[in-house]
């Protein structure tokens, strides 16, 4: 896969279709990969990498990159393309300036989970069907994928690209039965006290590093409301338990109807707070109350929160069919 991508990227650079390529770049460690823009074949040869650690959603970077001179090649995984469409819908990305190569994805590995298995000195990763082969400075380790996949990949909603100009690899399918709402349902079935305790435990870990906000493709504001002195809620860091709640509720609310469930928030959280469970609650509610809706399937139209029907349910529905 990596070699096909490199080959195609070089071709497109050479024939002038694009003048830059956004992809992933090796870091100090094999799992320490960062998104990067390459401007020449040499740079690509030197640093370009695509393997099972390349989880980053590149769409958000296109907000800035697509506004620069010339066309850009972007390699987008299926879930990244949903974010891409949503950002097109919000006029944040200039579509004409991006050439999308959709790349197939079989799920990305969570380095933390691998390390937690006692594997160290990781130098690389490869995969086939349902096994990852982790290369280390010692021996190669084989691990069943299901054990170390990123959470979002264990409940992958779609292997189908929402948008692309060309594809590398096979086009997958939308997975209607991903089970991604199972944990939300489980929480809903807890008692209010249990839920409160669960969230207090989770949210109190927040150190307000803003990683979730910075990585989130829906959190694409020029200036965040929490940095806006006129919003009345500007805060640099959460000083109290309430502010932890406030930040995460407001953030989830602001992306409600726009969140594609790409799972980046939870992936980057250094405190391992399951932030996706907040977003998925909104998605689940929207699906159940206002009809199935997947943000990013389309690149125009209204979101569930900027539309309505006259027969929408009343908020009292929360009493009738809310959590236990």
């Amino acid at each position: 896969m990596q070699s096909r991508m490199i080959e195609r990227a070089k071709q497109l650079l050479a024939d002038g279709t694009v003048n830059r390529v956004i992809g992933w770049k090796k870091g100090e460690f094999a799992y320490d990969i960062t998104p990067a823009v390459f401007e020449s074949a040499e740079e690509i040869d030197k640093d370009f990498v695509y393997d099972d650690f390349c989880g980053h959603n590149l769409s958000k970077y296109l907000i800035k990159e697509s506004r620069k001179e010339g066309k850009l090649l972007a390699f987008l995984k299926p879930c990244d393309t949903y974010s891409f469409n949503q950002l097109i819908k919000e006029h944040r990305i200039i579509r004409e300036n991006v050439y999308i190569i959709g790349i197939a994805c079989d799920g990305k590995a969570d380095a933390e989970k691998i390390k937690a298995k006692g594997i160290s000195g990781i130098t690389g990763i490869s995969s086939d069907d349902d096994t990852f082969t982790v290369k280390t400075i010692y021996d190669d380790e084989k691990i069943s994928k299901s054990e170390v996949l990123e959470e979002r990949c264990t409940v992958c909603k779609s292997r189908k690209h929402a948008v692309y100009d060309e594809l590398i690899g096979d086009e997958g399918e939308v997975n209607e039965n991903s089970g991604r709402f199972d944990m939300v349902t489980k929480l809903e079935n807890m008692t209010a006290d249990e839920r409160y305790t669960f969230w207090r435990n989770e949210l109190s870990k927040c150190i307000r590093c803003n990683a979730c906000r910075n990585v989130c493709p829906a959190c694409s504001c020029e200036n965040c409301v929490f940095d806006n002195p006129n919003s009345g809620i500007a805060q640099k860091s959460a000083a109290t338990s309430f502010e932890e709640n406030m930040f995460h509720i407001i953030r989830a609310f602001h992306v409600a109807g726009r969140c594609t469930d790409c799972g980046e928030c939870s992936r980057v959280c250094p405190q391992n707070i399951p932030l996706h469970l907040l977003n998925r609650k909104f998605i689940k509610d929207i699906n159940e109350l206002y009809g199935e809706y997947q943000a990013g399937v389309e690149d125009e139209g209204r979101t569930p929160l900027t539309s309505y029907t006259k027969d929408d349910c009343e908020p009292s529905i929360v009493n009738e069919r809310g959590c236990k």
Partner: protein
Amino acid sequence: MQINNEFKPKIVAFCCNWCSYAGADLAGTNRLNYPADVKIIRVPCSCRVNPMFILRAFQRGADGVIICGCHPGDCHYTSGNYYARRRITLLFSMLDYLGIERERTRLEWVSAAEGAKFSATMNEFVETVTKLGENKRLEDLRCKAE
């Protein structure tokens, strides 16, 4: 510390200017009592109520928050209350999901002619919130200590 049977809840009511605020005025004109614990904030439309305001009220020690607007179909701005209905529904559901007692939040449509409904709603809401007692789950302890 307050003893629970003397507990007086703090209730913030957001009322849209055109229907519910007028409904509240009508309750006054008709001398329809409801507890003094309810304090009304006038907003142009229920769609002006930002979830931030509701959370802020809880943060600052409110025990209950109620939003009142024109009946669906009667919005002075035609569609404001329809948007409000979706937003508020999802927010209430989220608060419920976080384990906050759902009885502390409420949305009610009150027209300018429904002074009696306004009063009855407030009486009922205050009673419900009083039963729940102080809001311990969503408040900023710093702000409460005075």
